[in-house]
Amino acid sequence: MTNHSPAPNSYRTQPDESGHFGDYGGRYVAETLMPLILDLEKEYRAAKQDPAFKAEFDDLLEHYVGRPSPLYYAERLTELMRQNADEGMGAEIWFKRDELNHTGAHKINNCIGQILLAKRMGKTRIIAETGAGQHGVATATVAARFGLPCVVYMGARDMERQQPNVFRMKLLGAEVIGVESGARTLKDAMNEALRDWVANVDDTFYIIGTAAGPHPYPELVRDFQSVIGTEARAQLMERTGKLPDLLVAAIGGGSNALGLFHPFLDDKIVEMMGVEAAGTGLDKKHAASLTGGSPGILHGNKTYLLQDEDGQIAEAHSISAGLDYPGIGPEHSWLKETERVMYTSVTDDEALDAFQLLCRAEGIIPALEPSHALAVTIAEAPKRKRDAIILMNLCGRGDKDIFTVAEALGVEM
């Protein structure tokens, strides 16, 4: 399903006024929620124009989250990859280190923005869904910071494999509700959060964790996360005087990738690769909606989904709970069809290998999500010239994943 219409003048002007990225996105929600998301859109437009809103957002990112996050040249990893490269080959590998943010991932950037919107709208209760628990932790964190009660819906299966994050959320004062329906993972948590929201529209703000859901969520999450790419672009220019040759980021819903990519979309010389989770293989169980799915409608937006011929949603699988979702943000569907971004996928095993490599080569324990991006990064580096720059979003740290990794490696803890 490739769209061969001419390339747009700019890739940075989406979505249109009705919230569509080409054919994708939109507002596919129950009527009860429609007035609320129209109101949210109005408030977001006003907030964007309000210097005080931006000032408060920037201030919290600097002093509470710890931004800007460092841009790091991974010298040892680069040299290691050059050992297997041909003469003159082996690109420089750089990391945008969003794993050093408060709460350990990029998720907090978006949560700060959304809780400021909630405050602006006079909402007094926060809900969220979470997969790996990183978004739940980030939401519980900002809810505590702003003194608002917080309910986090989490698939019961994800709760089992992400116990440390469940405890973190509870420490932060959030109520964590295990969701027993469906596959008991992220999509089921999202269904339950939507059910809560529709019953509590008056006082509740739903902080969606990725650049998906009904308009204006994909747009506002992208905008809040774009701090990643904006910083990285300035940092790399200052350090090297160049733009990167290739950006690489992992994709579940796709917010860390859009955050990195979006400020570079109109830099034609910058290639971009989004990396989905191929699970145990694209012919087996996976979570690669773009590579192995087809367009459909779920959770408020039209986008690529894992589904059967009747439109029933398939269960996703990934060793990484944060990538374990059968859909993807609608802007990625559009970027795929316009061919501005190339999408690929990495299996559980490849991600595990990359995870271990980074621990030893650079002294950084990455989350399993960016380990997927890392697997592509280390495969691409030897194919590119020595003066090329690959910039990867190291969007989360791996503390939360050590039990999952131990189990996968057969280590008793």
Binding site: S18, G26, R27, Y28, V29, A30, E31, T32, L33, M34, P35, L36, L38, S181, G182, K187, D188, M190, N191, L194, R195, V198, A199, V201, D202, G296, I297, L298, H299, G300, K302, L305, Q307, E309, D310, G311, Q312, I313
Partner: protein
């Protein structure tokens, strides 16, 4: 408006009573047994049938209908089975309006045109799609209208006066007023708020207004029947199907009759 829905509401107006709109999920308790439950709805006195299309992710539904969706999908219910059930119903009940209710993805999967054609061929009169609001009508509405199928819209307590015209634009058949902001099968709204909402809606449209979400008892049904053109009952029937399985037709018939009797006498008492 489709002929069958139009005639049904005309005849109800003549009788000065509200319609009983009864919902079950297609493929529940099994694909083969759905027809007998549908027949029980008609025999019990249902005037309009809503046949739910099961979906893996029914995010507007409470536990009862979620479980019905899982039972139906667990029995392997496909879209082709749903249309076969509709066709069978139409062959047995020439005049009872039949409405499909469900979520967008299964409806648009093979294209809106395909879905609309199937509806027309199998005797479906209208479609209620939970997650296609007026703003996204283009995804399904034009194809249904071209095929003569009613696009039945939902109005809710959050649908304000400014928004209502958009909801009514392109709506036909009847207007489904969701009486509570929430999911199916939970609490019912206060009678006073229902009466006020229905009268506000009727001031803006000539479409019949049916009220649903949380209606369980004959008394509740009768109260709504005094102020609205239709009463929708779903979760309570679906729970009987879940409890009795293949033996559901008898208890479903008895329960629906209790609702129907209450609705039929509501405006006389």
């Amino acid at each position: 408006m489709s002929e069958r829905l139009g005639e049904a509401f005309t005849s109800l107006r003549t009788d000065n009573r509200a319609a009983l709109v009864a919902f079950i999920t297609a493929g529940d308790p099994t694909i083969d047994d759905t027809g007998a439950v549908l027949d029980a709805l008609v025999e019990g006195g249902a005037d309009i049938i809503e046949l739910g299309m099961p979906f893996t992710d029914p995010m507007a539904d409470g536990p009862s209908i979620q479980e019905a969706n899982l039972r139906a999908l667990g029995k392997g219910t496909t879209t082709a089975d749903i249309f076969a059930i509709a066709e069978g119903f139409r062959s047995r009940h020439a005049n009872v309006p039949l409405v499909l209710m469900g979520y967008a993805n299964p409806m648009v999967r093979r294209g809106a045109q395909w879905f609309a054609d199937q509806c027309a061929e199998t005797g479906v009169d209208g479609v209620i799609c939970v997650d296609i609001p007026a703003e996204e009508d283009g995804a399904l509405g034009p194809a249904l209208r071209d095929a003569g199928i009613d696009v039945i819209r939902l109005a809710t307590p959050t649908t304000d006066e400014a928004r209502l015209p958009a909801v009514l634009e392109g709506a036909s058949g009847f207007l489904y007023y969701v009486s509570v902001a929430g999911i199916t099968g939970k609490q019912q709204a206060a009678q006073a708020s229902i009466a006020a909402a229905v009268s506000a809606l009727k001031a803006k449209t000539d479409l019949p207004v049916a009220v649903g979400f949380g209606v369980r008892t004959p008394e509740q049904a009768a109260d709504i029947a005094r102020v609205a053109d239709g009463v929708v009952v779903g979760s309570a029937i679906v729970e009987l199907v879940g409890k009795h399985g293949a033996d559901a037709p008898q208890p479903v018939r008895d329960y629906v009759k209790s609702l129907s009797d209450a609705i039929r006498s509501a405006r006389n008492s």
